[in-house]
Each structure stands twice: as C-alpha cells, then as structure tokens.
Amino acid sequence: MITDINETLCSEFELPMEKLTESAILADDLGLDSLDAVDMLVLLEDKVGIKLDAEKFQHVKTLGDVYKLVEEII
C-alpha cells in the first residue's frame, strides 16, 4: 500500500522517491499545497478504490499521517 501511495505521489507530483519518507512534512518537505492536497485525496481514492475520510485528510501533516489514514480505511 505504501508503495502504491508513493508511486502515485511520484508520478502525479513529480516527487523523487527518496524524499518520500514517513516523517516528510507534506508542505515543507514535499512542497505540496492546498490544491495538491485536494488532488492527492482524489488520486489516492482512485488508486485504492475506497473513499477516504476527507475531514480527517484535511488535518494530515506528514506522509506518515497519509499512510495511517489510508491503512485505517483499508
């Protein structure tokens, strides 16, 4: 699942794989802004085929938070 998420981030947001660590802060370390966050939710839902909790997704700070949120749903 982490591989799937990372591949999506890699291809859609042009992020190098080595930067995709659990502790990476979405805004500061990966340069993802509010528009990217909206699109990440859509792309991840498409990837895992399950609707994610948009409310909770608004509060994610790190990539680890994203992994956790997706794992919880799956």
Binding site: G31, V38, D39, V42
Partner: protein, 418 residues
Amino acid sequence: MSNVCITGVGLVSSLGHTPDALFDNLKNNKCFFQEEPSWKELIGLNTHVSSPAQNYDVSHLPRHTRRSMSPMSKMGYLAAHNALKDAGLTVSREANSTSKLYKTDSLKTLLMMGSTTGSPIFLEEYFTKMIKNGGPVGQLSTAFLKTMNHSVNANVALALSYSGPSISPSSACSTSSQAAIMAMQFIRSGIYDVAIVGGADELHSTSASVFDIAKASSCHYNDRPQEIPGPFSKERDGLVVSEGSGVLILESEDHVKKRGGKVYAQILGGQYMCDGIHMTQPQSCQMAITMEQALRDANISKKDIGYVNAHATGTKVGDYEEAKAINSVFGETNVAVSSLKGHLGHSLAACGAIEIIGIIEMMKNKMLIGNRNVTEVLDGFSGIDILKSNKQLKLNYAISNNFAFGGMNTSLVLKNLM
C-alpha cells in the same frame, strides 16, 4: 493622445516559434498541414486534417505553475515570455529594478490575452469523467483552472509572476486582434503605458467540428493536405484548424522612447464591431464599414495602404464576402491582398496577433507573402491585387482584418517604423 507602438513580438505556431522562422517558411511557401487519423473515428466529422504547432517545451517551469496549464496556456506563456524578451522588458515585482526592467507595481501595464473557450482537451476530459462517474467524483482541482474562460490569461500571469491589471477578452477568431485594438485605445487614453496582448488556442476535434458543421472546413483533401487550395482560390474547399499563440507588446511612444527601446510598427488605428445581423454569415458591408472605420481612426487615406492582410480562411462564403468588402473599400487602388491561413492554418484566437507578426516581417523584409496554393483567384474583383505569389514591395502601411463567429469584425492599420 499617445502614439501606440509595437515593441516586441512572440509566437508559437505551426510554422515555427520565432518571427524569422515564420517568415522563412512563409517566403518558401511552406505549410505543415497533416492528416489526423484519430478524427476519422469521429462520427460525422468530415475534415481529417490539421495544422499543429511545432514542438514546444515548458518543462523548465515549476510544477506548481504547470499543473493548471493546458496546451493553450503553455503556448501563451512561451509567446508572452518571448515577446517581453524581444521588447527588452522584464516583469518584476522588485521596486528597485534597473531602468530597463518593467515594474508591475506601477499599475501602468496591462495583460490582455484570451482564447476561444477554456481548454477543449480538458473540457472533454472533465465531462467524459463526469458522465462515466455520474457526478463530479474523481475530478482534480486543477481541471477547472484549465477550462475556465480566462485560463490563458491567468496562467500566463502566474508563469510570468505578473501582478497588475488584467483582462481576458474572448471573441473566437478575432480575440487577439480585438485585444490589440482595445489595448491601443487604452494606451492612447493614457490609462496604460504598456500592454501585453494576444491570444492562444489549442488543437482539438471540437474546434474542427464547429467549422465542419457549418460546412466551412476542408474535407476533399484529407489524404493530401499539402494540396488544399489556398484562400481566395477558385477551388477553395474550406479551412484547416491550427493552434498556437501570438503576443504583441504595445507601448506608448513616450514610454519606449524614454527607455530607449526599439519599435517595429505603430498601430495607427483600428476598429472592432459586431454586425448584429447574423451569427455565422459573413457580411461584406459590415466588413467594409469596419475597414473604413479603422482607416478613419488611423487618419489615413486608403491610397496609402500597400497591403491588406485578409482574414480569409479558405471558405467559400467568407473569402468571397471579404474580397467583396476589400474591393468596395480599395477597389480603385489595386491594393495587394493575401491571407496567411493557407500556410499557417487557422489558429483561432491566436491568428490576429500571429498575422500582425507576419505583416511586421513583410515590412522588415520588403516582401509581401502571396496566398498559398492558388492557381486561379475567385472572379469579380479586378480592382484589387489578390496575390498568387510573393511580391517585392517596401511596405509602409498595411491593414489587418480578422473576423469571427458572432458577427465580430476587426480591422487595424499598421505603419512601418523600421
């Protein structure tokens, strides 16, 4: 009233992305019309030829800038960037920039670029997904940013880091010529010193089908697009849809003199008018009135005009009506007339500005470009010289026409200042 000068040009087109490349291809009678095999699969579409822009690249822009850009915005950015560079102007937010840099904090500049619609490529993608999913689920946030009507203007502003007055005009095929005339009026009145004006459109089957439905697209030369008869030809069978962007930097004479910039030409006058008669049927009388109004605004005699750059797209009705209009205005002068759409194809919102760049090149090179692929010109207009080949001529004054669905007519007068 300030004189309005053209001090920079930029383009992305099917004939190249520099004025030199454009003129070289025009001079050598080139066109790069090609077959569009995928269009054959579309039920009811009769034209299968297009004239795509030559390869271009904006991968150097940051992802945050590129993510909201469709092809029309990418082409628009490149044309605008190159036009500013050509003019020797740099958009900068820094108040302490050197004197050569243009400071956007003065609010005396205008960005005015438009397109026919928002991105047709992403409109198709958006609605295809929406119909498939039964609602907006799965849509990316950037979809709207590519499909909104002022997408080109907004994306160019972002990519240039331009902050300042901005308007996005839209009148289909007369978008960029109308933008140039409006900017001329603004600069004359002293509202702005500099205007970045132009248009952009991207290739898509819907653009072709708009003309196809109106029986205005070329469909008898699908297997040999290089042989499509040119504008004003007796054999003309319709237009070829293209794409691209043309951008002009317009500046008040005082502003360009003060900074020591170069000048190509002056926009002496112009007019844009809606005919209010018919949405699609070209009206020669209204075209003629528009040209006469432009000449009046320029305070120049028709006898001074050495060349008419026609809108003529290669359609049966449009070319005839325009020839009739030109003949009624210039009939006694034997003025030279040609259209560049037999070479470039029809780039819709971009064509006006690209064609003005073509006229500037003709002025610079002292050569008029003849209509491409014309053996016999349409009958009945012996008072004007519809060019079948290039012609050596020192061109001092020219008039540029562009017309559009919706009954839009535009004409502007250029004076050679090189």
